[in-house]
Structure formats: structure tokens, C-alpha cells
Amino acid sequence: MATTNKNDDGFNWAFALKEAAFAAIITAGLSFPILALRTDMDISNKLILNQRWSWLIVAAVLVFVGRLAVLSYAARPKSTRAASTAPQSDSSKFIAKWISAVGLLALFLFPIVVTSALGGQGALKWINNYGVQIMIYIMLGWGLNIVVGLAGLLDLGYVAFYAVGAYAYALLSTHYGLSFWICLPLAGILAATWGVILGFPVLRLRGDYLAIVTLAFGEIIRIVLINWVDFSGGYAGVSSIPRITFFGLPFNDNVGSFSNFFGLTYSPIHRTIFLFYLILCLALLTNYVTMRLRRLPVGRAWEALREDEIACRSLGINTTSTKLTAFALGAMFAGFAGSFFAVRQGFVSPESFTFLESATILAIVVLGGMGSQIGVAIAAVVLIGGTELLRELEWTKQIFGQDFDPAQYRSLIFGAAMVIMMIWKPRGIVSTREPSIFLKEKKSVSGDLVAEGHG
């Protein structure tokens, strides 16, 4: 690699071509058993070997071109590279300021615009699959951001608190008939309690060890839910959970319902729109509390903890309670989101709370830029919205033929996008840190200086 910088202004073609050819050869060597050879069954059920050498050539050429592109990108003249990492210009500050205001307005108008554009039936999918789904993950991302992004504690079992919240509403409402509005704070408190219960034993652990124990904790909760059938219904979960009501007015076609009360014609979209605004408010509450706490002693102590725990203790900061508040608060928001999940689905089962969920939420936080609220929101839109969009790749059949199943390539595209993202922006979409207080001028802190936390 050192030779790439031999002459800064000229691009070293010989070297780049050699590198690219090398990468292409490796690709060909590694992938020829999968790409070039394929076993199929013929009509008499005998195995035959099909050869697809064109696939191999395409892959090798793609890698060759890609490697060349990466190398020429890396060899850009120094000046252009410096410009791209220069301190925030006025215009980018302006953009950063407006992006949240415009984003917020767009979110509030989203259901109205979509409904009027597509009508009740068409809008349902957009508001539910995109709007509500993404908002849930934004909220979870913001909640986990407190623990991972601010306090620097790597938590791989965050979904456990989401599960606690979901089951709290599911069980309290089905067994005791409590309404959603009573269960919501209860679910938050229960999840926060579990956050503290998890927090205590793992306080001494750092880094990898903390990650492993929190991962185990997430699995314990799920496995308890599966096996304690009397309590949670096991694999079958809890069903017929009471649906959301408009502060007491149910969303149905009967007398005394929401549509009846307001003199509207009944449509299922009403409930979905209400759910959308509900999760939007919950997410904004999470954001508001986090943003405020960042400017309060607790929030500053979280960030200081991420930077240097020993220095914190030398300044009289009780790191035990600081970590516990981070765990508890992060868990509380997951609990809120969980009870929302239960009231939206009307059904909960352990399958919704697998490790994959924790990993997705963590990916959102890491991709967004640890500690950045707006980055996390963008990452959630990209990741969750992107996954949903990939469901709608039917049109690719027109290019690749009817046998092509785009769904199979979802994980591949997803994974590749993550890898590219992390190469391009290793510290996430928003890689700078906003100071919580300033004297004269607010200057963003470069991500290179900000610690990631050690546990």
C-alpha cells in the first residue's frame, strides 16, 4: 500500500492494475466452486454438473473494477481530501439545523399526505410498514444510544427490555384488564427495574465481557418466556391483547367508536394513523429527555464515563450509579416501545425478541454514529426502510428473468451496504460530537478524538 503514495499528484497505474488483477484472481479462485459450478438434478433425478463460467467472469470483472475505483479514490490529491474533512462550514451547519426541523415536519405530515395521495387502502401499507415500523426502531435506537452511544456500555441484550415492556402490557391487560395508558408507564418502570437488576452484576465488567453477559441476559429473558408456559404462554405467546383505543374510544364500526363519535366513516386507517402519532410522540419523548439529559450533570457524567472512567472517579463521580441510570433509562424507553409493540400487534411471542433484534438496534446506533440523535434516526430509516424496500424488488425479475428471486439477495445487499458504509464512514453517518455547552462558539468535536467506551 505504501507505494500508492509514491507520487502524490500522479496516479500509480501499474500498481493499481496489479492490485486489482490480484483481487480479481483471488475472487475467481475463491468463488469458482460456488459460481462456476452448480449441481442440479435432471429429469431422472440424477445429479448433473452445470457450468456457468460467465458468472465467474462477471464477478471477477466486477471486483477488478471495484478495486480500481477504490484505489483511485484513495489516491485523490491531498487537497481535495483535506477539504472533505475540514471543520463544519457554515452551509453544513445550516443544513444540520434545518434537517431536523424539516424532518420533524415531514414526519407529522406523513400520514396525512400519504392518505390523501393514495387513499385509505394504499396508505395503510406505507404508514404501517414504513412509518410505524421505522419509528419503533428510531425509538429503540435512541434508547440504546443512551447506553452505548453516550455511556459507552456495549449492550447486546437490549431486546430483553423491549420484551419486558411488551409482555408487561400483554399480561397486565389480558389478566387484569388494565388500559394501555396505565400499562405504558408500568411497562417502562418494570423494564427500568430489570435494567437495574441486569446493571448490578455487570457493573464490574468491561468491554467484551459486558457484551457477552448482556447478550446472555437477553437470551435468558427469551428462554424464560419460552419455557415458563403458565406465565407467558410459551411459544404460543399471548394473543388477543386489547387493541389501542382513542383515549377510550375503540377503533371499530360500532356505536361509541372513534369514527362514530367524530362522525367519520369507519376505516382501519384511523387506528394505524393514531398508532403512528403515538409512536412518534413516544420517540420524540425519548429524544427530548436524552437531549435534555446531555446538558445535565447525569448526561455529562455518562459521556465522561465513556471517555475515561478512572478520571470520573477521581472527580467524585459515582460511576456505579451513573452506569445504572444509563441502563435503567435505556431500558425504560425500550419498555415503552415494547408495550407499544404489543398494542400494535395484538399478539406477542418470544420469536419477536431474538438476538437478531438486539443486533439490528445496535447496528442502527453504530451506523448512525454513536451518540448522535439525528444520525441514529437516519440510520433507522436507511436500515429498516431499506429492508422493507428490498421486499419490493419484483421489478428486478424483468431484468434477470422470471426465475430470479430478489428476496434471496436481501441479506447480501444489506451486508454489502453495511461493509461499504463502515469503510466509507467508520464512525457512522454523523461522526462528530456536539459539545453540551460552549462559551463563545459551538464547534463539533471530531470523531477521532471521541472515545468509544470500554464497557
Binding site: R292, P297, I310, A311, C312, S314, L315, I437
Partner: protein, 302 residues
């Protein structure tokens, strides 16, 4: 042993063992109130370990560390407190803390002992101002109702925060970093980072400030500035200083009392001039050439 008339901290029979290694061996000395006390010795003598015991980062294997935040602690009161098993008590003769019984953050918070580190430990990704605000965590925590009232916007948190900023500003002016208040601490030059770490420790309003090699890596001019800063801290604040230093110009120039350690054992204790002429100290430490020849493992001064 130099007799200290009004001791702030009395260290008695302090021993710290790491497995078979005795890092500090039966060490006794006093830190006078309002004094600058220097703790010197060759590399590996156990100086940082003493600091870690005083500030609670290590739990001493044996020994007593009695700090009297106010008053002149009578021996009988200290003995009574030791008997009682408590960490702290307001005794007739003074407000006494037994540091060996307290966790590190409580020593900083309650007994008001602040420290700096041999390898600078700033919050690098936070701004210079934020570093100084975090140092005022505990009073701000109370002012914000443990942040609960703060979130709701109730109470006088804003005013307290403003006070904290004022205090930070006055320290930034003293250490000459007011123009860099909004820059990340990690971007400061080395000497400025050292000064900032001292200012951050001072923002906790300590009665005892422990500085671990504050002049290490400074150029002569910065070293001189440091001397001035330390003298002014002693003059303007009711803060006593415990100082580890290899730079003899700093030690001899500003300290009232010098304690010399070698291999974890105290070999001298007195005024700078007494210590300077002590043959044992010359052999072990100050006489770098002799020391190196007799005992290559010592390494001598940096």
C-alpha cells in the same frame, strides 16, 4: 521525620503489597495544612502507589490514612474513629476521614482529595470547558435535583450551571486557555493538557491536591509557569498540595517538605535543604551518577 504542626493528612504504617511485591513498606509521614509536600524517589519507588492509596484507587494492605478536613485532629479522636469502624466523623477536634476505608469517588467527593495522573487523563473528546464543568458534577447534581428536576425544567439549575461556567472561566484565565475553551481537550498541546488537568482537579474545590509528576514532559518555560501556578494555588486557596516530581528545580523551588522513598521505604523526610544534603538521598536518588553505578536497576532521575 519532620514534625508538622497542623497536619491535614497523617499517613501511618502504610503498606501496599501486590502478591509478593511490597510496593510501599510501612510508610509514615504527614502532609501539613497549607504546605506543598513533595514525594520523591527513583523510578518504581512506590510514589504513584502511595497516591493510589491516598485517593482510594488501591485499598492499602495495612495502615491508616487520617485526613482532617478542618481542625487539628487529636490522636485520641482518630483512635476512637478507628475503633468505631466508621469512615468519617465530626469529632470535637476536627472533621476526620479515614481514607483507607472509603471508595475512590467518595474520597474525592466527601474528603475533598483531588488528583492528577502520571499519564494525563482528560476527557479528550469533550471540550476544555466541558472538562471543567464535569469536575463540578456533585454540586451541579444537587442543584439539578439529581437531574430529575432538571429534565422537567424545575429549580435553579440554570443559575448553578452559570456559576459553574464562571468558575471554569476563572480557571481558564489563570491557566491561559480561555481562548481554547470550546476546543476538544485532546487537541491541546501537551503542556496545556497538564495545566488543564490541574485546573480540572481544582474545580472540585479540594482541600488536598495530589499531583503525579505535573512537570513531566514540560519545557523549562512551562516548568516555570507550573511553579507559579502551584504557588498561586497555595496562596489563593485553602488547598494543600502533595506532589510527585522528578524535576528537582520544581521540588526544591516550591516545596515546604520533602519525603523521599526508595524501594517503597522512606529514607528521608524533612525540609528541601535537609533532604538535599542527606547522604542516603544523595546515594539513592540525587547523586544520579553514584546511584546508577551502585544500583543500575534504580534508573535514576528521568
Amino acid at each position: 521525620m519532620l514534625s508538622v504542626s497542623n497536619p491535614l493528612l497523617v499517613v501511618e504504617h502504610l503498606t501496599m503489597r501486590f502478591g509478593g511485591l511490597i510496593a510501599v513498606n510501612d510508610l509514615s509521614f504527614s502532609v501539613g495544612r497549607g504546605d506543598i509536600t513533595a514525594l520523591i524517589g527513583p523510578n518504581g519507588a512506590g510514589k504513584t502507589t502511595v497516591f493510589n492509596c491516598v485517593t482510594g484507587f488501591y485499598k492499602p494492605t495495612e495502615g491508616r490514612l487520617a485526613l482532617a478536613r478542618s481542625g487539628i485532629a487529636a490522636a485520641q479522636d482518630v483512635a476512637d474513629l478507628t475503633q468505631s469502624g466508621a469512615q468519617h466523623k465530626q469529632m470535637p477536634s476536627g472533621d476526620i476521614y479515614l481514607l483507607e476505608r472509603m471508595p475512590d469517588f467518595r474520597i474525592a467527593h466527601k474528603a475533598k482529595v483531588a488528583r492528577t495522573f502520571q499519564n494525563i487523563r482528560l476527557f479528550q473528546g469533550m471540550t476544555v470547558l466541558e472538562n471543567l464543568i464535569i469536575a463540578q458534577h456533585n454540586p451541579l447534581m444537587v442543584a439539578s435535583g439529581f437531574s430529575i428536576l432538571g429534565v422537567l425544567g424545575i429549580g435553579g439549575y440554570k443559575a448553578s450551571e452559570q456559576q459553574a461556567v464562571e468558575k471554569a472561566k476563572s480557571w481558564l484565565e489563570r491557566i491561559g486557555l480561555i481562548d481554547r475553551a470550546d476546543d476538544p481537550a485532546g487537541e491541546l498541546p501537551y503542556g496545556a493538557q497538564r495545566r488543564l488537568e490541574i485546573a480540572r482537579a481544582m474545580c472540585t474545590d479540594p482541600v488536598l491536591l495530589c499531583l503525579d509528576e505535573p512537570a513531566a514532559g514540560l519545557n523549562p518555560k512551562e516548568s516555570l509557569e507550573l511553579n507559579t501556578l502551584l504557588r498561586s494555588i497555595r496562596a489563593d486557596h485553602s488547598t494543600s498540595v502533595l506532589l510527585i516530581e522528578h524535576d528537582m528545580s520544581v521540588v526544591m523551588g516550591i516545596s515546604d517538605h520533602v519525603v523521599v522513598l526508595d524501594y517503597g521505604t522512606k529514607i528521608a523526610d524533612g525540609t528541601p535543604s535537609e533532604v538535599r544534603n542527606d547522604p542516603k538521598v544523595i546515594a539513592a536518588y540525587l547523586g544520579v551518577d553514584d546511584g546508577d553505578e551502585m544500583n543500575p536497576a534504580h534508573g535514576g532521575a528521568k
